[in-house]
């Protein structure tokens, strides 16, 4: 970011905060006008329209959002939204995303919440609708024509008489000085001209030509380079740091030690890298790690925080009286976000103020964390989002922002910190390992009478939020406490059903206190979850726990359908009652030309390659998007290799903002899910993590034989806008596992489905 905006620039003068821009450049904010935001970020009042939008006299619009783009398409979709509601072309809209000096505090960009938050009847969408209403009202006064006889098009408001006034003339550079109206009417999807259309990503040209600015490309005058020295083992602490060991490294500026945080700063990046490698640190050993081979048993025996999500209180009796009870246990490993770019941040911490350029999903929480780490008051810290590589959740972007702030504060210079690949793998907050135990009682026909699910998910730290910098490794090393598990017994659920990250299978009726919030018909139901302390930091990884739980539920559903000798699609539909999940299942099956018959296939070959198909479905967190996936795979019986041949995804996220962006999310999601299902797993020995590069942590490269991917988009203009970035990935492991079963009759209940596990499952059937 070459032109930095000082908060002081905003203090004086009048006029809305308008950001000028050229059509050629959508890089980096460079605001020049004055604004209403005269103190710190939290004073950007989301109730005020001026906090979301400003219109310049030339009619260009600057919009402010707290939901940022990591490659998932929110920049383009939100630009479409503002252009649509204000009836102007997209090239007249400049979107400023996630900067604590300019944008409202919208917490964290995560959890498939950006679209529900900003595309329904609050926040950015409602602000834009309010602005349109206000502009039409102003035009009515100016033209002396009733508002309902005016039309707005391309930034100009017209009366039937031919008289007209532009939005720029009406408000240009001035504040609206009104609140966001909850009653301002949003445009109906049937009226959309920009939303709902397949708009290419606005980033694409910059990305393809290498001109797009990532956080890795931020250069600040006077900037020097930092590296960190992480503990070699989980839980080891600093005994001694020999600063002399690096005093001869050219360009060396400083060794920084704060509690167990160790880092170095040098003039150039290569010098910092050498210093980090050469620095002699004596570490006290950590407490050791539970053995990986017994880890799933270990976590089931730990004290846990229990939550009972649903309990019909008849489950034990129903299981006793069932015609048959089936049980299965599913295992899911820790997985890494494994961002392609090891995380990077730049911080400039001076005596009285700090600026951090960060790829965090959470600029305001990061502001609070940096304030806590540096001791600077909240209103002296500014955090500016600059995109990093795709994060898929809580990668090391937050922790490296803290690293940069700690180092900069000591050297009084802007410091850029680049984590190494090893640092990234040992610094990030893994997706949680889980154990999911399922049991169900079926009647004589095989239909499910009772379903009982008990899950264990490990957790340690997590998102720092506004209060907990210790929730990521740098904060903890610097002396802040991470959040940990409080063991407690469950109490009966109250009020209404909580979906619990899809711990509740969609086939349950989900009845709590007489009110049924589930998507299914099974009324004898129990779901008990356990949160267990993790030896490693954990944090949300794309579809956190929803993916793990869905893997178990959807494979178990397949086991039950096989026992009943009923086709897996038919069997699912027998136990679902919610229309939208039923529709996605039917749509995926129809497009895939689903071969209706029970699984597994009969008379499949005992040698060579065999093929099969599997299905899985999800109502994401109960009501935030619906998807079904049909996977067709080929299993090589001798090598244990799985080759996906075709994926068909049907997806319903309410009204579709951008079908092009949606397809991109589906295609990437399902393949990322396949990579996680087939190979990804964090590994460790008795003291430390051992999966620390791309040889020890498996990911599917570009060169694989790719399956055909077909997306079926179900548009529901009348529904609320829902999330769409995490539904397809949620289904991959389950659908692939079910397809392997269909092909071979072998059920694999542990992710990843490595060739060895596939072969073991095959041989156990012979």
């Amino acid at each position: 970011m070459k032109k930095e905006i000082s908060r002081r620039d905003f203090v004086k003068g009048t006029g809305a905060l308008v950001v000028f821009f050229s059509a050629a450049s959508f890089l980096g904010p460079f605001a020049v006008a004055q604004g209403p935001f005269d103190t710190h970020g939290s004073h950007i009042d989301p109730e005020k329209l001026d906090s979301w939008l400003a219109i310049a006299s030339d009619g260009t619009v600057t919009a402010y959002t707290g939901k940022c783009d990591f490659g998932q398409g929110m920049f383009t979709a939100q630009t479409q939204l503002v252009a649509e509601e204000l009836c102007i072309s997209m090239d007249k809209v400049k979107l400023i995303q996630c900067d604590t000096s300019m944008t409202p505090d919208q917490g964290t960009t995560s959890g498939s919440q950006s679209t529900p938050t900003n595309f329904n009847t609050r926040n950015l969408a409602q602000a834009a609708a309010t602005a349109r209403d206000a502009l039409v009202g102003m035009a009515a006064q100016k033209l002396g024509v009733p508002a309902d006889q005016l039309t707005i098009d391309n930034g100009v408001i017209h009366a039937d008489s031919g008289r007209r006034v532009s939005c720029g003339e009406l408000i240009g550079d001035k504040h609206f000085d009104i609140t966001v109206s909850p009653t301002a009417k949003r445009k109906l999807p049937s009226e959309w001209k920009i939303l709902g259309k397949p708009v290419p990503s606005m980033d694409m040209v910059g990305l393809a030509t290498g001109t797009f600015e990532f956080v890795h490309n931020v250069h600040v005058p006077g900037m020097v380079h930092g590296r960190v020295v992480r503990p070699p083992e989980i839980g080891s602490t600093v005994a001694n740091v020999d600063e002399k060991s690096v005093q001869r490294v050219p360009g060396m500026i400083k060794v920084v030690v704060r509690s167990n945080f160790v880092g170095v700063v040098a003039e150039k990046q290569w010098q910092a890298a050498q210093a980090a490698k050469d620095l002699k640190v004596t570490w006290k050993p950590g407490p050791g790690l539970p053995a990986q081979k017994d880890f799933y048993d270990y976590i089931r025996k730990q004290p846990s925080g229990e939550v009972m999500l649903v309990n019909s209180n008849d489950v034990d009796n129903k299981l006793k009286s069932a015609s048959r009870v089936l049980k299965a246990t599913y295992l899911h490993p820790y997985q890494a976000h494994g961002s392609i770019g090891s995380s990077c941040a730049v911080a400039d911490v001076q005596q009285r103020h700090a600026t951090v350029w960060s790829a965090t999903q959470s600029v305001y929480p990061t502001l609070h964390g940096v304030s806590a780490l540096t001791g600077l008051p909240l209103d002296s810290v500014r955090v500016i989002f600059v995109r990093g590589s795709g994060c898929y959740g809580l990668n090391a972007a937050d922790t490296v922002s803290y690293d940069a702030a700690l180092l900069s504060q000591v050297v009084h210079k802007p410091v850029r910190v680049q984590l190494t690949r090893h640092d990234e793998f040992v610094s990030e907050s893994y997706g949680s390992a889980c154990v999911i135990e399922e049991q169900a009682g079926v009647d004589a026909s095989g239909k499910i009478d009772v379903w009982d699910s008990e899950t264990w998910a490990v957790s340690f730290g997590g998102r720092p939020g506004y209060e907990r910098p210790g929730n990521v490794i740098t904060g903890m090393l610097a002396g802040f406490e991470p959040e940990t598990i409080t063991p407690q017994k469950w109490v009966a659920p109250t009020q209404e059903l909580r979906n619990g990250s899809n711990a509740v299978p969609p086939y349950m009726a989900g009845c709590v206190n007489g009110k049924c919030g589930g998507e299914g018909s099974i009324r004898s139901e129990r779901v008990l979850t356990h949160a267990v302390k993790s030896p490693f930091f954990t944090g949300p990884l794309r579809s956190p726990l929803r993916l793990q739980n869905t893997f178990a539920h959807e494979c178990f559903m397949d086991e039950l359908s096989a026992h009943a000798e009923v086709d897996p699609v038919v069997y699912r539909l027998q136990h679902l009652k919610e229309t939208r999940i039923i529709e996605v299942v039917k749509a995926a099956a129809k497009t895939a030309n689903w071969d209706t018959r029970p699984s597994p296939k009969r008379d499949t070959a005992r040698t060579g390659s065999v093929t099969g198909r599997g299905i899985a479905c999800v109502a994401y967190e109960g009501d935030n998007g619906y998807a079904a996936l049909v996977a067709e795979v080929e299993v090589n019986r001798s090598s244990g290799q799985i080759q996906a041949k075709r994926f068909v995804v049907a997806l319903d996220c309410g009204p579709i903002s951008n079908p092009e962006g949606l397809r991109n999310q589906i295609e990437g999601g399902v393949l990322q899910g396949m990579s996680r299902a087939l190979g990804e797993e964090i590994t460790w020995d008795d003291r430390k993590v051992t999966s620390t590069d791309w040889q020890s942590y498996t990911t599917l490269p570009l060169g694989i034989e790719l399956p055909v991917i077909e997306s079926v988009l179900i548009d529901r203009p009348a529904a609320k806008a829902a999330g769409a970035g995490e539904t397809a990935i949620t289904l991959a492991a389950a659908a692939i596992g079910n397809a392997i079963f269909d092909a071979t009759g072998a059920r694999i209940r542990e992710v990843p489905f490595t060739p060895d596990r596939v072969k073991a499952a095959l041989s156990s059937r012979e």
């Binding site: 001109t211 050219p250 990093g388 795709g390 040889q695 570009l702």
Partner: protein, 154 residues
């Protein structure tokens, strides 16, 4: 430290760095180029890829002193936003990225192969990309873009 002269994207630059410095650091920090990026620093992912003598080279493990007088081309050296190179246009046309951090590896590796072997089979393209990573898994679009570029060259 030593003064080292480099030919990059048609220009000549002199930098004062340790000769062992990886080429990537010189391109990113000294020349402030945005195309090649630090992915792993281990030549395992491809994000730092540049072209040297029409070959795809991983700049994160190549000492700058080894470049000598060879011309280095980065992603931004191929074309411009106003006038993209044909392979850049193919990626734009296919919308072949999500975060886009990996694109130097994907595009330059594919370009190096197809410029030398215009008739490369799908298997040969896959083989060339067998150690290039994209963690957003925009794989299908990227392969389509590469094939589009290949068709356009013919």
């Amino acid at each position: 430290m030593a003064a080292i002269s480099l030919k990059v994207n048609g220009g000549v630059h002199t930098v004062d760095v340790d000769p062992e410095t990886p080429l990537l650091y010189v391109l990113s920090d000294e020349l402030q180029l945005r195309g090649p990026k630090f992915g792993c620093g281990l030549a395992q992912c491809g994000a730092c890829t540049v072209l040297i003598r029409r070959q795809a080279v991983r700049s994160c493990v190549m000492p700058v002193s080894a470049v000598k007088q060879q011309e280095v081309t980065t992603l931004e050296g191929l074309g411009t936003p106003e006038k993209p190179h044909a392979i850049q246009q193919a990626f734009i046309d296919e919308g072949a990225a999500q975060c886009g951090f990996c694109l130097s590896g994907v595009m330059l590796t594919a370009k190096a192969l197809l410029d030398e072997h215009p008739q490369a089979s799908n298997e040969e393209i896959r083989e060339a990309l067998s150690n290039v990573l994209c963690r957003c898994f925009a794989h299908t679009r990227m392969m389509r873009a590469i094939q589009r570029y290949q068709r356009g060259r013919a």
